[in-house]
């Protein structure tokens, strides 16, 4: 094989370069974030219950917030009834952050891990940022 050795060597170098981000990340994989529920308001609750169950909220809180903001601003509908029959105000500042007052340990820890930068905080809850 004419120049076969060189081709294989450069193919190996090429693969290494292409895979380098994955290899670097394998070495320093960040630990999965632990969303902290340790806030005074949550600790004071007799029944620790969110507006929907935790698995649903983890997957769909962004869709729910989007619906809430359209409901409140555009349709004037301000009350949300959860599956358990409890009625909540549709409010990021007034309802979500009332319980989850630890934004850095709750919201930001996961958003940072996932590399998402929601622009909620440009207008909401600005006093703390």
């Amino acid at each position: 094989m004419h120049k076969g050795g060189r081709i294989i060597a450069f193919a190996a170098v090429f693969c290494l370069v292409v895979l380098s981000p994955f290899i670097v990340n394998l070495a320093n994989a960040a630990p999965a974030p632990e969303a902290s529920l340790d806030t005074p308001t949550i600790n004071a609750l007799s029944q620790k219950e969110c507006v929907a169950d935790a698995a649903y909220m983890r997957d769909n809180h962004m869709q729910m917030l989007d619906e809430w903001r359209n409901d409140v601003v555009r349709a004037g509908s301000r009350e949300y009834e959860s599956a358990s029959g409890q009625v909540y105000e549709k409010s990021l500042d007034g309802t979500c952050l009332e319980c989850h007052s630890n934004r850095e340990e709750f919201c930001d820890s996961c958003h940072d891990y996932a590399g998402v930068q929601p622009y909620c905080w440009e207008c909401h809850d600005t006093a703390e940022s």
Partner: protein, 260 residues
């Protein structure tokens, strides 16, 4: 068999195309201004302002402060970038068509409170390309700040100058932030929202509450409301009503000697 000439074919095509454009243009034009969502249908919230009660600038300052501090409206001194929800204008600028050189001192000195007029036919709603601004069923012209792209069409369309653009981050100009109300961000238009959130909770707008009765608030459709009775008793004018915008803010001008 008759054969269509090239010339006839082109003319027919142009006529069809023009007809299609005209129809499409009309339907999208009529739709946006009619859109209404939220708020109690059948209501028409409005203000009645007693112009001559605002001879002292301090009276108005307290009202503006109540509004601006609650809604996180920044104080920017540069007039090209300032943000205003409610402010004072001289009578001759507020009502150019009624002002004259012989009018009394009470009018000449008045600092007339002006704000968004929450028009019945709001031109800002008609031009907004993202429908970020819209009219509720109860007559309030509201903003959805999430949708605003800062194009400033509404600023150009509003004949009252009631809209301001955040040219820079407004938080830099706020001394204190009221955490109960969101702030806005750079590149977003803002204006008076008639305290729609308070109205939904059964409360009066802050300016009416802080005014000690010089700015009345109520349902213009209800003949027994405070505003309807005030309008029945006195002659009132609206700003630039001849434009056909149908402002919901009325100004009572009684004449100085009646008051003395």
């Amino acid at each position: 068999m008759p054969v269509m000439r090239r010339r006839d074919f082109l003319i027919a095509g142009a006529v069809l195309g023009a007809a299609g454009l005209g129809l499409g243009g009309c339907s999208s034009y009529g739709g946006s201004a009619q859109e209404s969502a939220g708020g109690e249908a059948g209501r028409h919230w409005g203000f009645v302002v007693d112009v001559e009660a605002f001879r002292e600038k301090a009276d108005l300052d307290a009202i503006c402060e109540a509004c601006h501090s609650a809604h996180n409206v920044p104080r920017i001194d540069n007039p090209k970038e300032e943000i205003k929800w409610i402010w004072g204008e001289p009578f001759e600028e507020t009502f150019a068509e009624y002002a004259n050189e012989h009018m009394g001192e009470s009018l000449r000195d008045a600092s007339v409170p002006v704000m968004c007029n929450h028009c019945e036919e709001p031109p800002c709603v008609r031009v907004c390309p993202t429908r970020a601004t819209f009219k509720r069923a109860d007559g309030i012209v509201e903003m959805d700040y999430h949708r605003c792209i800062g194009c400033r069409f509404c600023m150009a369309a509003c004949p009252y100058g009631a809209r301001s653009l955040n040219f820079s981050d407004p938080v830099d100009y706020l001394e204190t932030v009221n955490s109960e109300y969101p702030v806005r961000t750079r590149g977003v238009i803002e204006k008076c929202m008639m305290c729609a959130d308070r109205i939904d909770k059964g409360l009066m707008p802050l300016c009416a509450e802080a005014s000690n009765g010089t700015i009345l608030f109520g349902d213009l459709n209800d003949p027994d409301s405070e505003v309807s009775r005030a309008l029945e008793e006195s002659f009132a004018v609206r700003r630039r009503a001849s434009l056909g915008t149908g402002p919901s803010v009325y100004y009572i001008v009684k004449g100085g000697e009646q008051r003395a």
